[in-house]
C-alpha cells in the first residue's frame, strides 16, 4: 500500500467514525417511538424551564376560601385543573413540579453517571486487584434493592430534596459502573489500543481519549433510562415523606401523598400529578429505547 492509499483509508475510517452518531440520529428520526419520546421530553423540559412564565398562579399561594365547602372544587375557568386541599392552583403546582423533577433527574443521574464512569473506567482498564475490589463493592451495592437502598440513604442523611438526589445518584452508581466496565473490557483488547500502547502513549491518555469514547454509548443509553427511574424514585421517596421538608413544595410525589385521602371525593388531585409523572417517564424511556436501537452495531445499516 502506498502512503497515499493509507491516507485515504484513514480518511475513510474517520468518516465512518463520525458516521456513528449521524447514522444513529438518522435512524432515531425514523423511529416513531423515539420521536414521541423526544416530543414529550421537549415539552417537559420547556415547561420546567419556563415555569414562571407558564404558571397562571403562584404554586404556593393558598386560598382557603375555595375549600370551605369541602375538598376540593374541580377544574374551573380560573383554575384549569382545580385546586388542592389548601386551595392552591393544581396546574401551577404541576408546572413547577416539572422543574423539581427535572432538577432531581439531572442532578441525581449526573452524580450516578460521573461516579459510575470513573469507577467503571478504572476498574475495566486497569484490571487486577483494583478491579476485583471495586467489583465486589459494586456487587454488595447491587445485592440491595435500589429503592430500599435509596430509602436507607435518605434515612441516614435525613429527609430533604438534596438528600433525595444524592441517594438516587448513589443507587445508580453500580449500574453505570458495571456497564462501562464491561464495554471498556471489550475495547481494551482491541488492536488500536495495542497500537497506541506500542507507540508509547501514556495509559491515562489511552483510557481517556481512545477507550472511553468508544465504550461510552451504552452508558448514555442507560443514562436516559436512569433519568426516567430517577423521576419515579424521587416521586416514590416524596410519597413516603422523605422528600422536601417544606410540605408546600410543589413536588409530584408530595402532591400524590397529600391527596391520597381525597381519592374518593377529588380523584383528579391524584390523577393529574400521576399523569405528569407517567408522561415524563414515558418520554425518557422511549428516547432511551430509541437510542439503544440506534447505537446498536448489530442493527446498523438496517433502517
Amino acid at each position: 500500500m502506498s502512503v497515499a492509499e493509507l491516507e485515504s483509508r484513514e480518511v475513510m475510517i474517520e468518516g465512518a467514525g463520525a458516521g456513528l452518531w449521524s447514522d444513529a440520529l438518522r435512524r432515531l428520526r425514523r423511529n416513531p417511538g423515539a420521536i414521541v419520546g423526544a416530543v414529550l421530553v421537549a415539552i417537559f423540559v420547556l415547561v420546567a424551564l419556563a415555569a414562571p412564565l407558564l404558571a397562571p398562579h403562584d404554586p404556593r399561594a393558598q386560598d382557603l376560601n375555595l375549600i370551605i365547602k369541602g375538598c376540593c372544587p374541580g377544574p374551573s375557568a380560573h383554575h384549569l385543573l382545580g385546586v388542592d386541599d389548601l386551595g392552591r392552583d393544581e396546574l401551577s403546582r404541576i408546572i413547577y413540579g416539572a422543574r423539581l423533577s427535572l432538577l432531581i433527574g439531572i442532578v441525581s443521574v449526573s452524580v450516578g453517571l460521573s461516579l459510575g464512569i470513573v469507577i467503571g473506567a478504572i476498574s475495566g482498564f486497569f484490571g487486577g486487584w483494583i478491579d476485583s475490589l471495586l467489583m465486589r463493592l459494586v456487587d454488595i451495592m447491587l445485592a440491595i434493592p435500589g429503592f430500599l437502598m435509596a430509602i436507607g440513604i435518605v434515612a441516614l442523611l435525613g429527609p430533604g430534596l438534596f438528600q433525595v438526589m444524592i441517594a438516587i445518584g448513589i443507587v445508580n452508581v453500580p449500574i453505570f459502573t458495571r456497564l462501562l466496565r464491561g464495554s471498556v473490557l471489550a475495547q481494551r483488547e482491541n488492536d488500536f489500543v495495542l497500537a497506541a500502547r506500542a507507540v508509547g502513549v501514556r495509559r491515562r491518555t489511552i483510557l481517556i481519549s481512545h477507550v472511553l469514547p468508544n465504550a461510552i454509548s451504552p452508558v448514555i443509553v442507560q443514562g436516559t433510562l436512569a433519568l426516567a427511574t430517577a423521576i419515579i424514585d424521587a416521586a416514590g421517596l416524596g410519597f413516603l415523606g422523605l422528600g422536601p421538608q417544606d410540605p408546600s413544595t410543589p413536588e409530584w410525589g408530595n402532591m400524590l401523598t397529600d391527596t391520597v385521602r381525597y381519592l374518593q371525593t377529588a380523584p383528579f388531585l391524584a390523577i393529574f400529578p400521576g399523569v405528569a409523572i407517567v408522561l415524563s417517564v414515558l418520554g425518557f424511556n422511549l428516547i432511551g429505547d430509541g437510542l439503544r436501537e440506534a447505537l446498536d452495531p448489530k442493527l446498523r445499516g438496517r433502517a
Binding site: L64, I68, C71, D85, G241, Q245, P247
Partner: protein
C-alpha cells in the same frame, strides 16, 4: 381450549353462588342483636389500671364500672357502683356508700373490701408497674406509690393515703391533701372496680417493660379473663381480628339490648368507611372531615356528633428567644389566621377557640383578651419588640398522626405558616413522626413553636388548664408563679362556686400571658348505619353500648 373455557365458566358460576350465599348469610346475621363496631386499633390490655389509650377504654367501660360514672352525653358525675358519697375533713376524706347486691361476672360479691383491694393494688404497684406507660392515670391523678422508686419515673409521694372498710357497703378513701378533681377522675377506666379473686387467679399483677420502655401485662387476666360488674363480658379476643363481648346475664342494672358486641380493628380510616358502607361493621368513631359529606349523602348511614371537649393549640416555648417576649407571642397570635383554618379543614365541625378549655366546661370565662387575625398588627408588634423583619421561627408539626383537634396537622401547619409569613415571620418547618420523636421533642422543650392539643378525660378544668400550666414544664418553658398558684388553688378548692371564679380568673390571666394560642374546639363525629339506635355520644371518647340496639 374449549373445554377449559367451559370449565372456567362453571367455576365462575359456582363462585358467584358461594358469594351470594355468603352475602345472604351475612345480611341475615346483621338483622339480629349483634353489633360490629370498627375500632382504629386493638386495645392494649383489658385491665383499666394499666392503660391510658382510648381504644382500651372503649372496651373496658363495657366490662367494668367505677364508683362514679359520667351522665351519658355530659361530663357530669353521677352514681354508679357508689350510690352516694360524702366528703369530710375539708375534702381529705371521702366516704362512699356502695350499691348492694352487685356481683362481679365471676360470681364473687362487690363490696367495700373489693373497693379497698382495688385501691390498695394500685397504691402498692412496684417495679415495672410504676412505669408511666403502665399507670399513667394513677400517676396523673394520685401521683406516686407506696414505695418510691427513683428509676421508675413515677413521682414521689401520693395523694392517696389509705382505704378503710367501714362495713360491707361503706368504704372510706383518705387523701393526703384536699382535692376536688379527684371525684371526677374516678369515672376514668383506670379506676374501675375489678374482681380481686379473678385478678389473683389469672396473674393480674404480672408484667414487664420491653426494650422500648412500653409496659406489657404478662398474666392472662388482662387479655383473657377481665372480670368486672359491667353489662358485657369478654367472650373471645383474637388480636388483629376481633374482640367479642356478650351480654352479662347477671347485670345489676338494666341489661344490655345487644346480646353480642364485636370490636373489629381497622386501622385505615378509608377502609373503615368502606367497611361501614358494605355492611361489615355498623359503626365507627373519629370520622374524618372529608368523609362527612359522603356519609351524610348515604341514605343507609347516619352521623352522630360528640360535644366538643378538646382543644387545638399552637404552643410556644418561652425558653427559646424571642418567645420570652410577650410582644412576639402576641404577634404570633395576631398572625395566625385561625378562622380560615377552622372554616377550611374541619368540615364545619370546629369553632375557633378563645381559651385553653372548652366552653361547655365550668370555669370558662366570657371576657378574655381575643386575638383576631391581623397581620399588620403583628408586624407592628414585632417592630415594637425591636426585631428586624422577617423574624425567623422554627415551627414543629407532627406527621403520621390524626387527632380530633387536628385531622391533618400538615395542612394546619401549611396554612399557619402562610399566614405567619404575611405577619412578618420567616417560618422554618420541622416535621417529625408523632410518637416518639415529635412528642418527645416538644415535651423536652426542643420545639420553639409547635402544633399541640388535648382531649379531655373527665369533666374538670384541671384536666385542661391544670395539665398544661399548673406546674413548670419544659414544653412551655416559663415560670409564672401567679399562674401556677392560682391553678393549684383552683384544683384544691372544695366549693364549686369559688372554683368557677378561680378558673375564670385563671383563664383571663392565661390569655393575657399567652403561653400558646388555642385555635380550635372540634366536635368529633361518629358514623353508624341507620338501624342502630340508642347511642349517646359522650364528650370524652368512651361510652357504654348497653343502651344501643340494632333494629
Amino acid at each position: 381450549m374449549r373445554k377449559l373455557s367451559r370449565a372456567s365458566i362453571v367455576l365462575g358460576l359456582l363462585a358467584l353462588v358461594v358469594v351470594a350465599v355468603a352475602y345472604g348469610a351475612r345480611s341475615h346475621k346483621s338483622a339480629s342483636d349483634t353489633l360490629v363496631f370498627g375500632s382504629s386499633a386493638d386495645p392494649v390490655a383489658l385491665d383499666g389500671a394499666l392503660i391510658s389509650d382510648g381504644e382500651s377504654g372503649r372496651v373496658i367501660i363495657q366490662i367494668y364500672e367505677g364508683l362514679v360514672a359520667l351522665k351519658p352525653g355530659t361530663t357530669n358525675v353521677v352514681p354508679s357502683l357508689a350510690t352516694s358519697w360524702k366528703a369530710s375533713a375539708g375534702g381529705k376524706s371521702w366516704t362512699f356508700s356502695l350499691r348492694k347486691g352487685v356481683k362481679f361476672s365471676d360470681g364473687t360479691p362487690f363490696n367495700a373490701s373489693a373497693v379497698c383491694a382495688n385501691f390498695n393494688r394500685w397504691y402498692n404497684f412496684t417495679g415495672s408497674f410504676q412505669n408511666p406507660s403502665a399507670t399513667y392515670y394513677w400517676q396523673t391523678v394520685f401521683g406516686g406509690f407506696k414505695t418510691y422508686d427513683p428509676k421508675s419515673g413515677a413521682p414521689k409521694g401520693s395523694l392517696f393515703k389509705s382505704c378503710k372498710v367501714v362495713n360491707a357497703s361503706t368504704a372510706t378513701i383518705n387523701l393526703t391533701s384536699a382535692s376536688a378533681s379527684f371525684l371526677g377522675a374516678l369515672s376514668l377506666p383506670s379506676f374501675f372496680m375489678e374482681s380481686p379473686t379473678a385478678m389473683a387467679k389469672y396473674g393480674a399483677n404480672q408484667g414487664s417493660v420491653d426494650a422500648d420502655g412500653v409496659f406489657h401485662p404478662t398474666g392472662t387476666y388482662a387479655t383473657a379473663h377481665p372480670t368486672g360488674t359491667g353489662p358485657f363480658m369478654l367472650q373471645s379476643w383474637t388480636r388483629g381480628d376481633k374482640l367479642v363481648l356478650v351480654r352479662n346475664p347477671n347485670y345489676w342494672g338494666k341489661p344490655a339490648h345487644l346480646s353480642t358486641l364485636i370490636f373489629r380493628p381497622i386501622a385505615d380510616n378509608a377502609a373503615r368507611l368502606q367497611a361501614l358502607q358494605n355492611g361489615e361493621i355498623q359503626g365507627y368513631d373519629l370520622v374524618e372531615p372529608q368523609d362527612i359529606s359522603t356519609i351524610k349523602s348515604d341514605g343507609n348511614l347516619k352521623l352522630l356528633s360528640r360535644p366538643p371537649f378538646n382543644v387545638g393549640i399552637v404552643g410556644m416555648n418561652q425558653s427559646i428567644a424571642p418567645m420570652n417576649n410577650l410582644k412576639v407571642r402576641q404577634a404570633v397570635a395576631y398572625g395566625l389566621d385561625r378562622q380560615s383554618v377552622v372554616n377550611a379543614f374541619y368540615g364545619g365541625r370546629g369553632v375557633v377557640a378563645k381559651e385553653f378549655q372548652p366552653p361547655s366546661l365550668f370555669g370558662y370565662a366570657k371576657n378574655v383578651k381575643t386575638y383576631a387575625y391581623n397581620p399588620a398588627k403583628s408586624r407592628a408588634l414585632l417592630k415594637a419588640a425591636g426585631l428586624k423583619l422577617p423574624v425567623k421561627i422554627s415551627f414543629w408539626y407532627p406527621t403520621s398522626v390524626s387527632r380530633p383537634y387536628m385531622p391533618d396537622p400538615t395542612k394546619n401547619f401549611q396554612a399557619f405558616s402562610a399566614s405567619l409569613t404575611k405577619a412578618g415571620f420567616k417560618v422554618v418547618p420541622h416535621a417529625a413522626p408523632w410518637n416518639p420523636d415529635y412528642l418527645g421533642g416538644v415535651q423536652d422543650g426542643k420545639a420553639q413553636v409547635y402544633l399541640y392539643g388535648w382531649t379531655g378525660d373527665f369533666g374538670d378544668p384541671d384536666d385542661f388548664d391544670g395539665v398544661f400550666f399548673r406546674t413548670p414544664q419544659n414544653q412551655w418553658g416559663f415560670h409564672n408563679k401567679a399562674i401556677f398558684s392560682i391553678l393549684t388553688k383552683a384544683r384544691d378548692e372544695p366549693t364549686l362556686s369559688k372554683r368557677i371564679a378561680l378558673y375564670q380568673q385563671a383563664n383571663r390571666m392565661l390569655m393575657d400571658f399567652l403561653p400558646g394560642v388555642p385555635y380550635v374546639h372540634t366536635s368529633p363525629a361518629l358514623a353508624f348505619t341507620k338501624n342502630v339506635t340508642g347511642y349517646v355520644p359522650s364528650p370524652v371518647d368512651i361510652q357504654l353500648f348497653s343502651s344501643v340496639s340494632v333494629g
